[in-house]
């Protein structure tokens, strides 16, 4: 009653007053926090997307530019563009503070300009990191009523690009001089164009590139080799460097000079590429932090090897050979290559032709100093190691007596670099039995005494290439001083990509390409090692695609 008596209707309108009070103190803040909070989260999510995308694109852009400074500038510009693309102006009414994100590139030299930290668990060596930070101001809808007209959201992203070391191997064998039907160019002209574009995707000043060119004999074209050095020794090799674009002659220029011709010495080329890749493995502590890659392009089957025919520790020459080199292996070492000349038909009474001087150890005739451009331009200068006065049958190619069968008693057991011509492992049969040669011939076994049989030379060449691959994937290396294959004291873990170009009747062997790349399709795959990839191309366009895919893959792995 007191309540009623004292009221005289005083609670009329109280609900509205209370509601109005609640509106300002409870309702709007609660709803505002809900609605404005979700909006802010949306803007933050969008900003994070923009910054993540910008960081990844910027790290990718570190490949473009003539030097490290230009590459960093390119990354900064790319980051801003990609961030802008992802974060539309006025997204939920928001705007980027300062108009653009803050982009910082850590060069990985310990200077730590972006505050990533150094030492301890922070390993930035041989790695550049792009760090991006952005703040956005978001206008509120409800919270402004109680004095909070805007809120700020922030996002940070980072992406890294590891420096890469790549050795590119280009097959220039004579089959590369045939015409590509889809371009009208010779295959070597197309390959040269494609390889030039490929190397253009790497960063001068940071990435380290090397080049090996392969015919019957292979040569390290970049970095420059010294013909006086013994290529069977790891110490003779120089690791790829970052000056490949500015050196004289530069690596891109050397690629443009490659002409087609000669045979296919796959084992030697792979050996040279691997030795170049790991030349400084014992001393370069940065090597494990880099991505080490071999890209191997070939259009045919291995058909030749480089050997030490009169090796004092195991000659392959006939005792009846009149060749005066025969008995003087230490002073006249027959370190030279031979190859099939007319296909791989079994029992063709031909066998290997040779012996020719390896490009690695021979100064280009008539030159002094850096002869590498000449070797690029003239694949046909396969000089015989002997002269007519040496009484070696192979010294006179014009008389067609240059088949090694005249002087050899057997196909050598190994090539000059310790790659065995007939090798099986404890778990696999002889490697050559996986190959196309063997399958096409209906499974004729290897017989190293059939020296006048081109098919047998093919098997030996195939097996040598597979054995070099086996050594790479099992961390083994050839010790030429003791002529033994030993555990590699400084192994590296490379990634190998292979491109097999099927454009003539003689097609590369997919199995060998898979063995070389250690793909899961390899019959001797080593599962603990990085799997590369085999690209099979049947046209110049597909070779183009393969090079582009490999570059993308390398740069992706580098992130």
């Amino acid at each position: 009653m007191t309540l009623i008596a004292s009221s005289n209707n005083p609670r009329k309108g109280q609900a509205i007053i209370l509601f109005t009070l609640m509106l300002g103190t409870v309702f709007v803040p609660m709803v505002g926090m809900g609605i404005d909070g979700v909006r802010a989260y949306l803007v933050k999510a969008k900003l994070s997307t923009a910054i993540d995308g910008a960081a990844i694109a910027a790290a990718s852009s570190l490949s473009s530019g003539s030097g490290e400074t230009a590459q960093a500038a390119n990354a900064v510009a790319t980051a801003t563009e990609v961030a802008d693309s992802n974060f539309p102006v006025g997204y939920f009414g928001s705007s980027l503070q300062s108009g653009s994100p803050t982009v910082c590139v850590d060069p990985g030299d310990g200077s730590n300009p972006c505050g990533l930290g150094t030492g301890g668990t922070v390993n930035t060596y041989k790695k550049r990191t792009v760090v991006i930070t952005a703040y956005a101001t978001v206008p509120t809808l409800f919270m402004r009523i109680i004095g909070y007209p805007t809120t700020t959201v922030a996002a940070t992203g980072q992406a890294s690009r590891r420096d890469v070391r790549v050795v590119l191997v280009i097959d220039r064998s004579s089959s590369m001089t045939s015409i590509d039907s889809d371009t009208g160019n010779t295959a070597i002209v197309d390959a040269v164009n494609q390889a030039g574009i490929f190397v253009g995707k790497f960063a001068p000043g940071r990435d380290e590139l090397g080049l090996v060119v392969m015919g019957g004999s292979a040569i390290v074209a970049y970095p420059p080799r010294n013909p006086a050095n013994d290529p069977t020794l790891l110490s003779s090799f120089t690791a790829p460097d970052t000056n490949w674009n500015s050196a004289s002659p530069s690596l891109p220029y050397l690629i443009t000079q490659i002409k087609g011709g000669s045979n296919t010495g796959t084992a030697e080329a792979l050996y040279l590429a691997y030795m170049t890749l790991k030349a400084d493995a014992a001393t370069n502590t940065a090597l494990p932090d880099m991505l080490n890659v071999i890209v191997f392009f070939t259009d045919g089957l291995p058909n030749g090897i480089t050997t030490f025919a009169n090796d004092p520790n195991g000659t392959s020459l006939k005792s009846t050979s009149p060749c005066t080199y025969r008995t003087s292996g230490s002073t006249h070492p027959m370190k030279a290559w031979f190859a099939q000349w007319n296909g791989d038909t079994p029992n063709d009474s031909q066998g290997g032709k040779g012996l020719f001087t390896p490009m690695m150890t021979t100064q280009y005739p008539g030159t002094s100093g850096n002869d590498i451009v000449k070797w690029m331009q003239n694949p046909g200068t396969d000089n015989n190691i002997a002269t007519n006065t040496d009484n070696c049958s192979f010294d006179n190619p014009s008389s067609n007596n240059d088949y090694i069968s005249h002087d050899f008693s057997k196909i050598p057991d190994q090539d000059l670099y310790g790659n065995r011509t007939n090798f099986d492992t404890t778990t696999t049969p002889a490697l050559y039995t996986y190959g196309t040669y063997y399958a096409n011939a209906g499974g004729i076994a290897y017989n190293n005494t059939k020296i006048n049989d081109s098919y047998q030379v093919g098997l030996a060449s195939w097996n040598a290439a597979a054995d070099q691959s086996w050594k790479i994937w099992n961390n083994m290396i050839y010790n030429s001083a003791t002529r033994t294959i030993i555990a590699d004291p400084n192994p590296i873990d490379p990634v190998i990509f292979t491109i097999g170009y099927w454009h003539t009747s003689e097609q590369p062997d997919a199995t060998l390409m898979n063995i070389m790349a250690n793909t899961t399709a390899s019959p001797i795959v080593v599962s603990t090692k990085m799997h590369g990839q085999y690209f099979q191309a049947t046209s110049a366009d597909q070779v183009n695609q393969a090079f582009a895919d490999i570059a993308s893959e390398i740069l992706r792995l580098a992130q």
């Binding site: 009329k12 509205i16 809900g34 994070s48 995308g53 990609v82 164009n193």
Partner: protein, 209 residues
């Protein structure tokens, strides 16, 4: 009488206040789930783009399943469902790209062109803001490089989404010709899609990596 009068005023007051209350509640009920769904769409686009740009092959059902689990609340499925994921890799074709196919006419010179396109989910829900390619796709969604560079079927029909990247130029800092841009678009029905369809709309987000 007094009691009766007070009762009446409470009803009137409630009637006066109810539009605010119910309006706010309905607003929250309708737009809250939409905002949350949109947040999920943006996050999904970001996550997919992060993986796509690092080489995850979304043409395989296993990798698509990864995304459908990620977007389970959105109703994403490999086929059909409440959402669609559109993946495109594009690049700007410049002189160096044309030089790769010097014997062909460089039909896409100075244009953005597709190098990869993968779509999964409810493909009728929404189309790509970039438009589509009519080129033949390989099983992994890739286009043959020769098509990307030379064939008009690979040209990106609508480049507005890529406007922020400007016109890539080999001699100007920034996004370069031949550089892959990974564009992920995610669209899904938002709100109370099945229970109260009128509260539903198609949310969309993109990410460019």
């Amino acid at each position: 009488m007094k009691k009766k009068g007070r009762q009446g005023s409470a009803i009137v007051e409630f009637a006066l206040l109810s539009p605010f209350l119910f309006g706010t509640l309905i607003g929250l009920w309708v737009y809250g789930p939409q905002l949350i769904s949109n947040l999920q769409i943006v996050q999904t686009a970001r996550d997919v783009a992060s993986m796509y740009s690092r080489g995850v092959d979304f043409s395989t059902s296993a990798n698509q399943a990864m995304i459908t689990r990620l977007g389970e609340q959105l109703g994403l499925q490999s086929t059909g469902g409440n959402g669609v994921v559109i993946l495109s890799t594009v690049q700007f074709i410049g002189p160096l790209q044309c030089a790769q196919f010097s014997s062909d006419s460089c039909g896409n010179s100075g244009k953005w062109a597709f190098t990869n396109r993968i779509v999964f989910g409810n493909t009728s829900l929404r189309s790509s803001n970039l438009g589509n390619t009519t080129c033949t796709l390989n099983t992994d969604g890739s286009l043959n490089l020769v098509d990307t560079v030379t064939n008009g079927c690979a040209a990106v029909p609508n480049t507005a989404l890529l406007g922020g990247l400007g016109t890539p130029n080999d001699s100007v800092n920034g996004f370069k010709p031949g550089q892959d841009a990974y564009v992920v678009e995610v669209a899904a029905n938002t709100g109370w899609t099945s229970a109260v369809p009128w509260t539903s709309s198609v949310g969309y987000a993109f990410a460019i990596f």
